[in-house]
């Protein structure tokens, strides 16, 4: 168990160290950020917005085909890319600037 936690921590740190990654946020099922590398205001903003966005995306996927489910969300914008890995009880958000 401890190694799992350590492994998760290590992987997260590695992701944060990759080229272009601006920040990572882990949000729990209520929209509360549990862990973040960004400042509070940005974090709460992203958490709040992406929670509802992910819910909408998931409901869209499932409305089209009820046996389908959402696995990943990528929002590519001019300046950055927001990557969201949604699950039942958390959201893993990474913001990356891909073209550096």
């Amino acid at each position: 168990m401890l190694t799992e936690l350590a492994h998760a921590e290590e992987t997260l740190k590695r992701i944060e160290g990759h080229k272009g990654v601006i920040g990572t946020i882990i949000v729990n099922s209520e929209g509360l950020p549990i862990r973040t590398t960004l400042d509070n205001s940005t974090t709460s903003l992203y958490a709040r917005l992406l929670c509802s966005f992910t819910t909408l995306a998931r409901s869209t996927v499932r409305d089209v085909d009820p046996q389908n489910d959402l696995t990943f969300v990528r929002i590519r914008s001019k300046k950055q890319e927001i990557l969201v890995a949604p699950e039942n009880n958390y959201l893993l958000i990474v913001i990356q600037n891909p073209s550096e």
Binding site: G20, V21, I34, F72, L83, E87, N89, Y90, L92, P98
Partner: protein
Amino acid sequence: MSTSVAKEGKKMRCAVMLKPSKRGSNLLALTSRRSFTFSGSKILDRMAGPTPRQAVRVFDEENNDVTPQPFYRADLRAEPGSRFLVDELSAGSTSDQTTFTGSFTMPFSRSVLDSSRISSQSTTESVNEEMEETFCRRDFPFNLPESLLPDEKRKKGSVKEQMTQALLKGIKDILITETDTISLLDIPPTLVSVNADDADVIIEINKQYSEVCRNRRNNEKYVDRAVQTLNGATKNKQIQNNLMLMVDTATIVSAFEMYAPPEQEVMVYSPEMKQTNDAETIVDSRRSPERSLSLTCSASTVISTCSLKDVETVGSSLNTQVDSERIMTSDKFQFSLLLMERTVLRNNFQSQLAAYRKLPLLQDPDRLVKPKEKEQSEAETSCSPALQCLWVFSCELSRGCRVSSMAWNKKNPDLLAVGYGETDYRNHGPGLVCCWSIKNPMWPERIINCDSAVTTVDFSSNSPGQLAVGMCDGSIAIHNVQSTDNKSPFISSRECAKRHLGPVWQLRWNQQELSFTGEEKVESLYSVGADGRICKWFVINGGLDCTDLMKLKKMNNTLRKTEQNKPEKTAECVLSVLTPGLCFDFHPSDSNIYLTGTWEGNIHKCSCSNGHQFLETYRKHFCPVNCITWCPLHPDVFLSCSSDSTIQLWKQDCINPLLSFTSNQPVGEVRWSPKHATVFSAVNEGQLEIWDLNSSFLDPVIVQPAAPGLKMTSLLFASLTDCVVVGDSDGQVTVYQLQNLHVGESSQGDVIQDLLRSASPKELQQTLM
């Protein structure tokens, strides 16, 4: 007037003579109901028999029978009020005699009368007399003309009086009018045409009915009976309800209160819950303390708008840390992390990965392409064959370790196992095996720490998750890369008594058909070690055990001996009879045949079934043969490379090599290209060489020098794409892409054949003949 009236009254009084019935008239005080009922009951008793006639008859002066006839007989059991009704009826009737007959119909429509007259106008005396004399229910319709009320008698008498006087005076016109016809029953007949379908049936029925009617009178079957429906008297009644008190109640529900966790008692907010990996229970246990918190909040204060933030601030301080631990230790989170890392890296390595996968490179429209870069990219595109470095597999763990061997996974072509270790005899440090994925060039998927330096790795075909690792200390371990726990190998040959005494130089998984069935392919692990044995390994009792397939005896001694014509047995038995085998390779189609390269420089062709003799020996190299590889596209051709800086191309049935290629340094490894039959690659310590037999026999087509200070040690071709993977002494595994190799499109095998024919005609002619 008054006198006449008085006269009339007197006359009236004296004219009317009552003849009371035999039954007593003792009814005087009749205002009370009791007395009424009393009299009524009396009369009832008397009246029980068949219809009695009128007991009292009234006669006037002329002895006319003016006995008033009652035309309404009330029910004695009814209320006394009905008696009054009778009065009124009679009163109403005496007013106009002509209407008497008209009102004959009144008993049939009692309801009409009931509602109209309630008020009592008759005197008590008259009621008296009425009750006494006139109540006779059954008589009524038929006896009407005979029985009249005593009141009526009097009134009739007075009327009669008036009449006689009026008659004296003149003729009075009497109007007789008819009442409306009251229809009681009207059944309209149904008319059916004679031509109708069921007319016959109806005619038959009609006939039967008329028969019945005819026979009715005399027939005992039929009895006349009258039926009358009685309509009950309706009455209005008012009721009143108790007032229903309405109370308004409202409540506000939040998501907490509505949520019902499946196990309420068990869920205790404690750190022990971390052990459950199930995501659902994690959510539940987290919910219950929050729920209790929210309930206490609502009890004390009124939460009108319970926004998410408010609730969160209440419960966040307690739960965040527990939350984060639970989330981060779940399996899904690990997977999400993996996915995220790969996605992030894919963004970074977009162009390189696209080139590897042979996908067209998409230009990022938002990225500003500087004019300098454009010029550079244009200048670099030339038509000559070149190698382009795509990326380097490197991590801090592997930095500084020498790459000793690499192997692709048989099932997942993206997975590359790299063995690290210093294989010099001096250093026997710990080894490392990393499984890298193309999708993640920055960090290996699996890291396996080995006790000893790793010399060789190979993936199994039958069970693609099994990776066999051969080490410097002679032990072989089989790891399962599918499990994330890499603490201990699946199987190890440490305890095996017959394990290799020296480093295991090469491992191979090979599938062999069972000789009996000929269909099943059993895969076994073969190894060649520095102790000169080629062993076949199998799993027994959770450990590995081997059988010797071949012992590589030293050949050069015997050769020298035979040349010098001395006996084979020499006194040089101090040294081992066996020579270390450095490499071996199984024939691609015939899995029984394999080639072995030895330290001596000889290449032996052996068979699995024959463990004592070599089928063939190829002699050319005078230094240890480092690598042997069969051509995958041409069945009989193989390459060998040795530390004498040469690469030899052999054909299976030819003792001497067909072609030789020289390099400038000892060649570590040589590999055929899986796609192009004429292309092979060799790596020596200083450079990577790509040879193309189509273009030149003397020089390699592409030469990629190693970075200064690095020695290239290992080589592999990527199976699906034009890439070469090179490992070096610093633990880096570089992926190069072959560009602009002009290779023909014709059938691969033929190309080799033609080449060989053109290359060395002498030897080929010898072999072909």
